[in-house]
């Protein structure tokens, strides 16, 4: 690069056009990236890991699952086993949670109750996920009049107070269920579970999915307008591939977080109903029914109330905290 001879007494900037020769083209854009490689799932997982509360609640959930499923296998007692001579015992080494007035070991009953809560949570989550996301995405994708009609239906379903419906359905299927079960053998477990629980599942299936449908539809509507979707269309992307490769992957974060938070709400409702006597039927134990059974003896046998009460609160709390953490971690990073 030539430079001009400097004028010693000049006050001006001594620059010439040679000082501004263009850069070597290989320099263009070959900037390095400061951040390390980070995909969506890895980044979310990292955020989740850093959230101590969420990790702790995940651990808690793990313990609860073990408690519910492995516990009864280890316990020497069955949940409906009435042990003569052990009625009404306070917590002791033989019966860690004590026994109820019929001599049934409360620890194992609590474990079974936890199993029911978890089952309810998981089944409702699955129902909500499948029905809700399909309904919501169809509505969002088709748009226009179809979308309007579908959302009106959602509005109406949303306003039905589900508890009332559960009660109503339970009363209806109570006896027919008994008949059905006694005639067909392999449906036996249904009877153990009780008409109340079946009613709960029916109602969950028919009502609970609307929240999810709304969220999924909202997400899809938002995404549909995004430029990268338009870009893919111009590239020639088919409708099917658009959904598969672009819309769904961008929704999944929200989907998972919402489903996760669905679980504690379902567990809450089941416990509540069982407490009122509308859920599981005796001798099956639900954390709610255990509490209501124990309520009568609260003056002398407070321990019978405490264990299922604390347990249910722990379960719901754990799922709530984890769901919150998951939602925060999956927050999609759309912009820089």
């Amino acid at each position: 690069m030539k430079s001009i001879k400097p004028k010693i007494f000049s006050l001006q900037n001594q620059i010439s056009t040679e000082d501004f020769a263009p850069l070597d083209p290989s320099y263009y854009g070959a900037e390095t990236l400061e951040t390390e490689e980070v995909g969506f799932w890895k980044a979310s997982w990292r955020r989740l890991k850093n959230n101590r509360i969420a990790m702790f609640s995940l651990l808690l959930i793990g313990i609860i699952v073990l408690f519910a499923f492995i516990g009864p296998m280890i316990s020497p007692y069955a949940y409906d086993q009435q042990i003569r001579g052990d009625e009404g015992m306070f917590p002791s080494l033989k019966h860690l949670f004590g026994t109820d007035k019929l001599g049934r070991d409360l620890l194992v009953r609590c474990m079974i109750g936890t199993r029911i809560s978890l089952a309810v949570g998981v089944v409702s989550a699955i129902i909500v996920l499948i029905i809700g996301s399909i309904y919501g995405s169809v509505s969002g994708l088709l748009g226009g009049k179809v979308d309007t009609v579908m959302m009106r239906i959602v509005d109406i379903v949303y306003s039905v107070p589900e508890i009332l419906l559960i009660v109503a359905i339970k009363m209806v299927i109570d006896q027919p269920l008994e008949h059905l079960v006694s005639s067909v053998d392999f449906l036996m477990p249904l009877q153990k579970v009780g008409s109340g629980l079946i009613a709960i599942f029916i109602v969950y299936g028919s009502l609970y999915w609307v929240g999810m449908a709304r969220i999924v539809r909202g997400q899809i509507l938002q995404l549909k307008e995004m430029e990268f979707i338009t870009a893919s269309r111009v590239l020639g992307c088919s409708q099917k591939d658009l959904i598969k490769k672009h819309l769904l992957p961008n929704c999944i974060g929200q989907l998972i977080a919402t489903v996760m938070l669905q679980i504690p709400s379902a567990i809450f409702t089941e416990a509540f109903l069982s407490f009122l006597g509308i859920g599981v039927s005796a001798p099956m134990a639900s954390l709610g029914s255990l509490t209501s059974e124990a309520l009568g003896g609260i003056y002398s046998y407070a321990y019978r109330v405490i264990s299922p009460a604390v347990l249910i609160s722990l379960i719901i709390l754990a799922f709530n905290l984890f769901g919150d953490g998951l939602r925060d971690a999956l927050d999609p990073k759309m912009k820089k």
């Binding site: 508890i163 009660v167 509540f272 309520l295 009460a309 719901i316 905290l321």
Partner: protein, 306 residues
């Protein structure tokens, strides 16, 4: 105009929802095998006569039409089991008066406790008040109502003997109110906190500060006003949760309200009572949701911008 259009649409939807609920519940109730007189030790002839008296021998659709007709005149039939012969509408009104007393107080408590808690948590974000409130509200929304009721009973009634176990006696309403108000207060606290934070970060508040107005004015006049708007949408679900929470609170604490009645109606299979209560609750919840919905439309500033 646009606003009226929306309001009318919503009212229309609400009415339809209500009708659908009634119809569905009615037909479900009718599917229950057996009729109310089965347990009565009456002869077949008496049973037939009773059936005719109550119109149960006519086809379902006719019964339905009659029921709806009566409903429009405020007649929900009579209770068959719990209080034989007494008009359900009467039962409902009387017992709901009690429930409402309890419920309204619970809602007030929830609002007076929850919203300030949320404000505190938002203003002192990430500091001590926020952490404490976060913990309290996370726990508060996870504990089912009956657990709170049970715990309160054990601690205050059984062990400490400070409070009576039944409603009606002095101090008897404290525990039911706490039971009903806990979940909503915590939920409101979370909602308010999120709402305040969102508003506090908005640029228009920065301008207010830049103008030199004191922090107090900034927060209380401008921020609060706007952050209260999303809370209005919660008022509907809030009342619904207090209502359903009432089932438990009234049962545990012996409150002679509609919730307790409903629960006993279920166990004694008083179908007309169940039907009547369902209708009443549905109407209540739907209308409250409607009112909140409309209020929100009116108050949302974005609607006024055209």
């Amino acid at each position: 105009m646009d606003l009226w259009q929306k309001i009318i649409k919503r009212i229309f939807l609400a009415v339809i929802s209500f009708l659908i609920i009634i119809t569905v519940t009615y037909f479900i109730m009718n599917m229950v095998p057996g009729d109310p007189f089965m347990s009565d030790k009456a002869t077949a002839a008496t049973q037939a006569m009773l059936k005719e008296k109550y119109g149960l021998d006519q086809p379902v659709y006719v019964q339905y039409a009659k029921y709806m007709w009566n409903l429009m005149h405020g007649d929900m039939g009579n209770s068959y089991v719990l209080q034989k012969g007494r008009a359900i509408s009467e039962i409902v009104t009387d017992s709901f008066a009690v429930s409402m007393q309890l419920g309204v107080r619970a809602i007030l408590v929830a609002i007076c406790v929850g919203i300030p808690m949320g404000c505190l948590a938002g203003l002192y974000k990430d500091r001590a008040p926020d952490s404490i409130i976060r913990v309290i509200s996370a726990v508060g929304i996870s504990i089912p109502g009956y657990v709170i009721a049970a715990v309160l009973l054990i601690v205050f009634a059984v062990n400490l003997r400070w409070l009576p176990t039944s409603y009606g006696k002095p101090g008897g309403s404290i525990m039911p109110i706490i039971t009903l108000a806990l979940y909503p207060s915590c939920y409101l606290a979370r909602l308010t906190k999120a709402s305040i934070l969102e508003v506090l970060n908005q640029d228009y508040l920065r301008t207010t500060r830049a103008k030199g107005m004191g922090e107090f004015t900034v927060i209380f006049i401008h921020a609060l006003k706007n952050s209260l708007i999303p809370i209005i949408t919660y008022l509907g679900p809030l009342t619904a949760s207090v209502l359903t929470g009432g089932f438990v609170a009234e049962s545990v604490f012996n409150v002679p309200g509609l919730g307790r009645y409903f629960v006993s109606a279920i166990s004694s299979r008083d179908y007309t009572m169940i039907m009547g209560t369902t209708i009443f609750y549905s109407a209540l919840i739907i209308s409250l949701n409607l009112v909140c919905d409309i209020l929100y439309q009116v108050v949302d500033p974005r609607i006024h911008m055209n």
